[in-house]
Each structure stands twice: as C-alpha cells, then as structure tokens.
Symmetry: C2
Subunit: 182 residues, 2 copies
C-alpha cells in the first residue's frame, strides 16, 4: 500500500493535465499512443510525465480506472437484483469498454490475464464482481461450468474492432453468448 500523501498543488494540477491529455491521445492512438506527446499536450516537461506515470500502461490504467469501477458497480447491482440474464447484460456493457479507443481491446485482453501488468490492478474490483456474477449463473445452470471468469473477459475484450456496430457493440458477442450455455 502506498502511503497516499497529498500531492503538492502544482503536482496535482500537472497530474490532471496529464490525465486529460492522456485520455485524448489514447482515444486517437489507442494503446500505442506517442508517450512523449502526452507531456507536450499537457504543457509539462518529459520528466514530469515519467514522474507521474512510469510507463504508457500506467497512464492507460489511470485513464480506464473510472470505467472499470463503473462496471464493477454495475455487476454488484446485477448480483443484488437477481436478474436472470445478469451475465449477458453485464458482458454487453463490458464489451463496449475499449471501443472508443483504437487497439485497446487487445491490450486489455492481455492485461486481464497478466497480474504483472499495470492495468491489471485497476481491474481487480471488476474481476471480483464479475466472478461472483458468473459463479451464480454457473450454479444456477444457465452457463457452462468449465469457464474461468477472467479468461472469459479476456476473450470478450479481444473481439475485433472491425466487426462492431455503430454503437460499439460486437456483432459476434451474440455468437459467443450463445455458446456459453451448457
């Protein structure tokens, strides 16, 4: 656990600027964003960028964190609601996470199953929440039992960008969901 001492005011401001610039550049370039450019766009020196985000992946993790937390919350709500199609419903939301970002699906797919990745830590609450959701569906007999929750997320995240509808949903998620039944 890092001790989370409050940042100095200027450091705080720089961090926000970097995150803003990062979000914009990730939206344009995806996982391969030109890192140096983030510092330029934020109007700070390169050293400052590296001080706040050790690697590209750390920046991407910070950019995506909100979405992941939102999805974790959604999974927990679905768990409480007892919705019979909770897994399907949630995977349709999850499927759209990487869509505003080029090439992010592949990156997320790999990060999900790699505990050493910087993005990995940001995914933990989401993984835990979805695991519960899937576990319940498996016990209820509506989903195959030989599926690992995190691996399944990795597969969904890898669905190619090329086969997506205008709203960002994959045209092949239905095929996959159909295949989840026992």
């Amino acid at each position: 656990m890092t001790s989370q001492r409050p940042l100095r005011v200027d450091a705080q401001r720089n961090r926000s600027a970097l995150l803003n610039a990062g979000a914009q550049l990730v939206a344009i370039y995806g996982a391969e964003l030109p890192f140096e450019e983030v510092a330029r766009a934020a109007g700070v020196g390169k050293g400052t960028l590296y001080r706040h985000f050790a690697t590209r992946d750390h920046l991407i993790a910070a950019v995506l964190r909100e979405r992941f937390d939102g999805l974790a919350a959604e999974a927990n709500e679905l768990l409480d609601s007892g919705n019979a199609h909770a897994v399907e419903t949630w995977l349709r939301s999850f499927d759209r996470v990487p869509t505003p970002f080029r090439g992010l699906g592949a990156m997320l797919s790999a990060a999900l199953v790699d505990d050493a990745s910087a993005v990995s830590a940001a995914c933990i609450p989401m993984k835990v929440a979805f695991s519960r959701l899937l576990g319940r569906a498996q016990r209820d007999g509506t989903v195959r039992t030989n599926l690992h929750p995190v691996e399944l997320l990795s597969v969904v995240a890898a669905l190619p960008e090329s086969v997506r509808n205008d709203d960002g949903s994959s045209r092949y998620l239905d095929v996959l969901l159909r295949g989840l039944r026992p």
Copy 2:
C-alpha cells in the same frame, strides 16, 4: 500484376536469407519484430531489406503465405469430401495459424478485414475456399446464416493467446463453435 522477371542470383539468395531471418524473428517477436535486425541477421544491408520488403507487413505476409495456401488446400479438400463437420474441422486448423508467433493473431485479425493491408493479398485463396465451405454449411442449415465468412475468421484469429492449450488450440474456440449453430 507485376511482371515477375526472375531475380538476379545474388538477389535471389538475399531474399531467401531475409525470409529465413524474418521467420525466426517473427517467431520470437511477433508482429512487432525489430525490422532493422532482420537485415543484420540475414547479413545484408538495410537498403536490401527495404528493396525486397517495403514494410514489416510485407515481410510477415511472405512468411505466412505457405500456411495460408496450405489452409486453402485443406478447405478445398474438405469441400470435396462432403464432411459434415467441415467448418468446425477447418476452423480448428485455422485457429492455430498464429500460435507460434507472439501477437500475430491480433495483426492477422485486422489484416483479414482490411483489403489495403499487405497480408490481405496472401489470404485471398484461403478466404475464397473458406467462404465456400461456410456457404455450404449455411445452406445445409448447420450454421447460422447471419455470419460473414471473413468476419468470422477475424474473430477466430483474435482469440487471445493467453487462453490456449499447449498444442496451441484456443480453449474458447469450442464456445464459439457452439455459438455458430442456428
């Protein structure tokens, strides 16, 4: 159509050396192989590399060409044989194409649906052969009709490397195949 004038003997030899070095480096680094290194490993100048292969993708296309042609042949045999599980059988073979190469699945997945990519041209015979195979299965009613053959290949190629068995087959291909039924 390029006129295919035979290469000079030294050019021929260099091309082979580059292809060999390329295959080895692709096996190690996948789609992101250090391009310059190919020239070094082949013992030729950088200029020679660029003369033979305009881009990384052109080199990868040449490396993969044999496999694609082999898969096209297999699809044609399956078509002739009238095998009832031809689509499944063939997709299991296709699924393993990118497995010796790190990160190649994502690259292939994108190339399949991008006619401008260098790899695309090398895939044409395979695409044509699989389209026939899928078309027959769809007419026979064993596979959903709302699937486009090339998109389906793009989805299979994108199945993540992390969820593969030791023999290179995806643990989630079964889920997908199950979902193909009408």
